[in-house]
């Protein structure tokens, strides 16, 4: 079926209506206007009236423009040729490469049968101690990075993209500032990671509907690669822009808003994307790290709130550091027992001492007298922050653990750490090793 209709009945925001027959729900169409061609997809049908959301927006579309239905839903090309390439939200090349049209696959496919899922068991090493030691990232995990505008969350994502031990990276950018997009590109090109990366980027200047497509495009491609045995890490930034795009379309469609204007199905919509994270038995896996900026640093805002109910923990990025307290990887217990015997005790011990440091710091700021113990904690806290929390530190887990022992031995005597004696005997650095 390739029918052309040339009478658009209504245009409201990014949504147009046309009278057409034989159209299928979710089908794709091409709208040709004087400004060029744009894809659109069917989002509602009532009798003969078909409503479509136009990917490049409703601006410039005239009532006499042509709508041609393609007879299939939104698709994306899938092959090895995607690697190293950059696309828009609707799958058009953003670099100067050729358009890919072979082996088209549908996006937004069905969800994985829960009975076929397996318990996560592999750690993904990132070289960032705050992740590897304290909140290990696990294959098939879905984790958001809760942050606020102005924090270096995109820098963090590019570091992870460069350092993470995975087969390939898919980066989905939604509402990215153009500069951010360019710096992502530069960092990965300089780091030589471009050849294992695929970009789907919607910048803030692009039409809003394309923003909605980015997660689905990224995840559909990721799923295919995972089924072929690849360990895929999907990085999404920023999911709040995605939710806002959904809000915009929902309001245009005159849907009843539920909470702060967001549509009632916000939870289901976010979940259907995040739940794509999976470890296929006998094949590859998809792991999702997604930035969610919290408007007004408010974690009860509908987007971070709904996200928190879906994901398996969260990283808080504040003041350029991953916060050790609010951050949580719910799956870390599944992997941090088999890395090195001192992993868990060091993780717990160092966090407890860091919490004590925070108390001492508070006491100090209130002008209380510092005891010897307080002084030790203050020294420890400073070392911890500069050698562990600094995001530019890039060392393997084992080295990071050794560093942990060194920081402890520089600050305390062995019995002050509260760690088990068998571990102290084995790992406590001798006099000359410590500085």
């Amino acid at each position: 079926m390739r029918k052309v209709y040339s009478k658009i009945e209504s245009i409201s925001g990014n949504v147009i209506s046309v009278s057409a027959e034989g159209v299928k729900y979710n089908d794709l169409a091409v709208v040709t206007s004087s400004h060029g061609e744009s894809l659109a997809n069917v989002i509602r049908m009532n009798g003969n009236s078909v409503s479509l959301q136009v990917f490049s927006g409703g601006r410039g579309v005239s009532t006499g423009d042509e709508v041609r239905f393609l007879g299939h839903p939104m698709q994306v090309s899938f092959s090895e040729n995607l690697l190293g390439r950059i696309f828009t939200g609707s799958g058009k090349p953003r670099d100067n490469g050729p358009e890919l049209t072979e082996n088209m696959i549908d996006i937004g496919g069905p969800s994985v049968n829960p009975a076929k899922r397996i318990i996560p068991r592999n750690m993904i090493r990132t070289g960032i101690p705050m992740i590897d030691i304290f909140n290990s990232l696990v294959e098939s995990q879905k984790l958001p990075i809760f942050s606020v505008s102005g924090e270096p969350y995109n820098e963090l994502l590019s570091r992870i993209a460069m350092q993470a031990e995975v087969d390939m990276i898919i980066l989905g950018g939604m509402g990215l500032k153009y500069d951010d997009y360019l710096s992502f590109k530069e960092t990965l090109e300089e780091g030589g990671a471009m050849s294992r990366t695929i970009f789907f980027v919607h910048t803030a200047a692009d039409p809003i509907v394309e923003c909605l497509l980015v997660p689905d495009m990224s995840l559909a491609v990721a799923e295919k690669f995972a089924l072929e045995g690849k360990k895929v890490l999907v990085l999404l930034t920023d999911m709040t822009n995605f939710a806002d795009a959904m809000k915009e379309i929902a309001i245009t469609m005159e849907q009843v808003p539920s909470n702060r204007g967001y549509p009632g199905d916000l939870y289901s919509q976010l979940a259907s994307r995040y739940e794509k994270a999976v470890d296929f038995e006998g094949a590859g896996s998809i792991t999702i790290l997604a930035v969610t900026t919290m408007p007004g640093d408010d974690v009860t805002h509908p987007v971070p709130d709904n996200t928190g109910y879906i994901t398996e923990g969260q990283y808080y990025l504040r003041n350029g550091r991953i916060e050790p307290f609010g951050s949580l990887s719910r799956l870390k217990q599944m992997v941090n027992g088999d890395t090195r015997e001192d992993h868990r005790p060091v993780m717990d011990g160092m966090i407890k001492l860091y919490a004590a440091y925070k108390e001492s710091q508070e006491k100090k700021s209130m002008g209380f007298r510092m005891s010897d113990w307080d002084e030790k904690l203050l020294k420890y806290g400073a070392l911890f922050e500069s050698e562990m929390m600094d995001l530019s530190v890039n060392i393997p887990l084992e080295e990071a653990l050794d560093n942990g022992w060194r920081i402890l031995s520089d600050s305390f005597t062995s019995e002050e750490t509260g760690l088990r004696s068998d571990l102290l005997n084995k790992f406590w650095p001798s006099e000359k090793e410590s500085r």
Binding site: E21, G22, V23, K24, Y25, N26, D27, R44, M45, N46, G47, N48, P73, G108, G109, P110, S111, V112, N113, P114, A115, K116, R117, I118, I119, P120, S140, L227, Q255, V256, P257, S258, N259, P263, G264, D265, Y267, S268, A271, S272, Y274, E275, K276, F280, T300, H301, P302, D305, N306, G308, Y309, I310, E312, G313, L328, L331
Partner: protein, 587 residues
């Protein structure tokens, strides 16, 4: 019989509008005929010839003019032997079988038999030809795992029937005719071990409903002692994300002293269901010595599965629970999370363009929640035995704020409220149930006057704690400070429980009562402690021993050793009892 047909005239997400000339009833199931596929849908509104249907699958590819075939039946589940150990989706499709057929992904439009047709069950009749029966009466039994599964007259057979024929003992599959019943008009009905029942209607084949009283033991101290749940009662667990709702439900599903547990994973993470799926077959039920899976049914409609089926899943679960209740069993239904179910209703209500209520939830939210929880209950069957369905639902309030509509509507109808607090979970105090804000209307496993005394200490300790934040430790009298320490002690050694410790994770009623007496002797005691540092040290030491004592196996050598150590330590400093104390001989 000719099939009732209709044509699709509108599509909006997972809602389709259909026009038909046939007679159709509300909540009737229809199938959208799409090429080879049949997509299940349910009628949710009728306006003249125009119907609105919610589709239980993705509607991608459906077009105007597609036919819809009406089944003449409401949304039903299959009831019969073979339900236990199964893992179903919200429409009772067995997921493992589906995986065998379709691989990694859920394929739409595939509906499998809920009950395996190839298994032969060992049927023993209990009635004979000539006996008179009605709905819910037991025709015979088959062994299903550790239970005697009753083969009953279908619940829809409302009249009185005479058994014309009944099969003798032997092995039969669920769809084999095992009896022929004749009604008063002389019509003959063929009955097998399996029948269907519409999920949205409660099963009422019992003599009367009774008031729940006997406790449903969860082996979680704060629940059993302070916030008990009764067999046949209802309770809810609201809490913000990360406060441990799902962990609490998992612990309860393992340890609860009931016959059957039905877990409805409704719109939550698939990963959590997988843990249950892989863990339960390995775990041994301490009461029966068999695998925990043998007493469990899992209804799993996780967050990325179709929303309309999520709405159906809680009804599927409660119908299965009622079915086993009819066999005189105590069934516990755990629904995680009812907020996702309410959200599914909200999505559909939005598509129907109904006038929204608070936070866009439909106006019928409260009555729907109420009628769901009302399906719990303790009943006396016609045979004189009792059976019960207990419902525990988690609620995921937006922003952790309990003022929102779903929490409030749920609180109106449940018998116990276990509110989880972010404050307690941040302080790693698990289970993070807030002891003062939560409540229960059911009787505790510990005598009420003892519980009230302990609650009083908690309450006063909390007040002192608040006051201390303002005036500091220096400004607090030693009497008040001791109350604060005692309440903190109670919180630490009794309200908090380590679900990863094999002993502490599940505490029997006997042990709860036993240690509660020791605890009371401390709470109600006068102590020779004159300064705050000494008091704090003393209670810290007491706490350490008590924690070890909690971790020791009941009545083991270790247990007795730690107990005498503990009692000596109390004797050491205790000088008498406070005037208001409840006194026991132990110390």
């Amino acid at each position: 019989m000719t099939k009732n047909l209709g044509k699709i005239v509108g599509i909006n997400g997972n809602m389709v509008s259909v026009e038909t000339d046939s007679q159709v009833s509300l909540n009737e199931v229809g199938y959208i005929l799409l090429n080879e596929q049949r997509l299940k849908a349910e009628v949710i509104r009728i306006t003249g010839k125009r119907l609105e249907l919610q589709v239980f699958e993705a509607t991608s590819g459906v077009s105007i003019g597609n036919s819809v075939e009406f089944s003449g039946e409401l949304l039903t589940v299959e009831l019969g032997p073979g339900l236990l150990t199964q893992i179903y989706d919200g429409l009772q499709n067995p997921l493992p079988e589906l995986a065998e057929q379709c691989g990694f992904f859920l394929q739409r439009g595939i509906y499998l038999n809920a009950l395996p047709r190839n298994i032969e069950w060992d049927f023993t009749p209990v009635l004979k030809a000539g006996d008179t029966v009605t709905n819910g009466d037991t025709l015979g039994t088959v062994p299903e795992g550790q239970f005697k599964h009753r083969v009953m007259v279908p619940f829809s057979y409302k009249d009185s029937y005479t058994i014309k024929e009944i099969k003798s003992s032997g092995k039969y599959t669920v769809d084999t005719e095992i009896a022929v019943l004749e009604d008063e008009k002389g019509n003959r009905h063929s009955v097998s071990m399996m029948f269907t029942w519409p999920v949205k209607r409660a099963i009422t084949s019992y003599a009367e409903r009774l008031k729940p009283g006997a406790p449903m033991v969860t082996k979680t101290r704060i629940v059993d002692t302070f916030l008990p749940v009764a067999l046949g009662g209802t309770y809810c667990i609201p809490g913000p994300f990360g406060a441990g709702k799902t962990v609490l439900q998992q612990v309860t599903s393992k340890n609860a002293e009931v016959d059957i547990v039905i877990i409805a994973a409704c719109g939550e993470r698939a990963g959590e269901v997988v843990e249950t799926l892989k863990e339960f077959p390995e775990l041994i039920d301490p009461q029966t010595g068999k695998s925990l899976m043998e007493r469990t049914i899992i209804i799993c409609n996780t967050s990325s599965m179709p929303v309309a089926a999520r709405e159906a899943s809680v009804y599927t679960a409660v119908t299965l629970a009622e079915y086993y209740r009819q066999m005189g069993l105590n069934v516990l239904l755990l629904a995680d999370s009812t907020s996702r179910w309410a959200q599914a209703m909200r999505e559909m209500s939005g598509r129907l363009e109904e006038i929204p209520g608070e936070e866009a939830f439909p106006a019928y939210l409260e009555s729907t929640i109420a009628s769901f929880y009302e399906r719990a209950g303790l009943v006396r069957l016609r045979s004189g035995e009792t059976g019960s369905v207990t419902i525990g639902g988690t609620v995921s309030p937006a922003g952790g704020n309990f003022e929102e509509p779903v929490t409030q509507a749920t609180l109106k109808v449940v018998g116990a409220f276990h509110g989880l607090s972010r404050e307690r979970s941040d302080a790693r105090k698990y289970p993070a149930i807030h002891p003062l804000e939560s409540w229960s209307k059911y009787p505790s496993v510990v005598p009420v006057e003892k519980v009230e005394y302990a609650r009083g200490v908690l309450f006063r300790g909390n007040e002192v704690g608040q006051m201390m934040k303002v005036v500091g430790e220096e400004g607090t009298s030693i009497e008040d400070y001791l109350i604060y320490l005692k309440s903190d002690f109670l919180d630490f050694v009794y309200l908090q429980q380590n679900s990863f410790d094999p002993i502490d994770a599940a505490v029997s009623v006997e042990r709860q009562n036993y240690i509660f007496d020791i605890l009371l002797s401390i709470l109600g005691g006068k102590f020779n402690l004159n300064n705050k540092a000494d008091s704090r040290n003393y209670f810290n030491k007491l706490r350490q021993i008590f924690l070890d004592y909690n971790g020791a196996e009941w009545q083991s050598e270790d247990f007795k050793k730690l107990e005498s150590e503990l009692l000596n330590m109390i004797k050491d400093k205790k000088s008498g009892d406070l005037e208001d104390a409840i006194i026991f001989q132990k110390v």
